[in-house]
């Protein structure tokens, strides 16, 4: 229910933004449009979504941006180095996250940060296979992901 409302709200804002006209009527039209869409397509929205602390979201965002910048520059550095010294590989990561949304968020974040890439997800949604540009210590990589992203996501979602 809540997630549907959220999406609805989102659509309303989206509508408003698209017109570059943040006015109430636009918002209402967007909201109504959203209601129509959700009414039509509600079969896809299987799971509920609970509104949680905004702080958790911001925290997640912060972690993400930090990771983004840090690893970006690492990668650029690697690219610009005359000789490749990286040791890439694929690492299996067991995750505690359960819902599709959590899993997706995690793998998106992993993908977004340069240097790591979600390659595959096991059929039971428990294992993520991550291609890393420079593994270094595989266990440390896993730990890092668990501690930063996974934890932050759980903060948001649970």
């Amino acid at each position: 229910m809540a997630s549907q409302f959220l999406i609805n709200l989102l659509i309303a804002f989206l509508w408003m933004f698209l017109y570059d006209d943040p006015s109430f009527p636009r918002f209402i039209v967007g909201f109504l449009l959203g209601m129509v869409f959700i009414g039509l397509l509600n079969r896809f929205l299987k799971r509920d979504f609970y509104l949680r602390k905004v702080v958790a979201v911001l925290n997640l965002l912060g972690i993400f941006i930090r990771e983004l910048f840090l690893s970006s520059f690492t990668v650029i550095f690697q690219i610009l180095k005359p000789k490749l010294t990286i040791r890439p590989g694929i690492v299996a990561l067991q995750t505690e996250l359960k819902s599709d949304g959590e899993l997706t968020l995690l793998s998106c974040l992993i993908c977004l940060t340069p240097g790591t890439l979600t390659l595959d997800v096991s059929d039971d949604n428990r294992t993520l296979y991550i291609h890393a540009m420079d593994i270094g210590d595989a266990e440390q990589l896993k730990l890092q992901i668990r501690n930063s992203f996974e934890k932050a996501i759980m903060e948001v979602t649970r």
Partner: protein, 130 residues
């Protein structure tokens, strides 16, 4: 246009463009498709982030126009870019594109072999049933 704001926006853009160039370089230089994927994802993220932010700043500060479309653009790219990268890399892996020979570890190889063997067995079983 050539106000300080304009130049600021332009610098943002230039930085984004540089990032894009680097990732293109990566795309050329890196040895296997997975590594190149990393580089490719770069321009989808940081590069676009900077360029669109620059544009946002430009329209906002120079042309006095707050364009949420640009913000939406950033959000959209951030949402889709990683998934696209993921799908492409997975497709590569599953169609048998090899890792760079200097790769150190491949946890997926075994898992995938197992999965396929099982699937084959199931398929043959169901064929026999028919």
């Amino acid at each position: 246009m050539n106000s300080a704001y304009g130049i600021l926006a332009a610098l943002f853009v230039l930085f984004g463009a540089l990032l894009s160039l680097f990732s293109a370089l990566g795309l050329i230089r890196l040895p296997d498709v997975y590594l190149r994927s990393h580089a490719a994802t770069k321009s989808a993220t940081l590069g676009v982030l900077f360029i669109l932010s620059g544009a946002f700043l430009y329209y906002w500060l120079v042309e006095d126009l707050v364009s949420f479309k640009l913000v939406l653009g950033i959000v959209f790219v951030f949402l889709t870019g990683p998934v696209a990268g993921h799908l492409n890399a997975r497709a590569a892996y599953r169609t048998g594109v090899h890792l760079w020979e200097q790769s150190t570890q491949d946890d997926l190889k075994e898992a995938l072999q197992q999965e396929r063997a099982e699937a084959k067995k199931n398929a043959e079983k169901s064929h026999k049933l028919q």
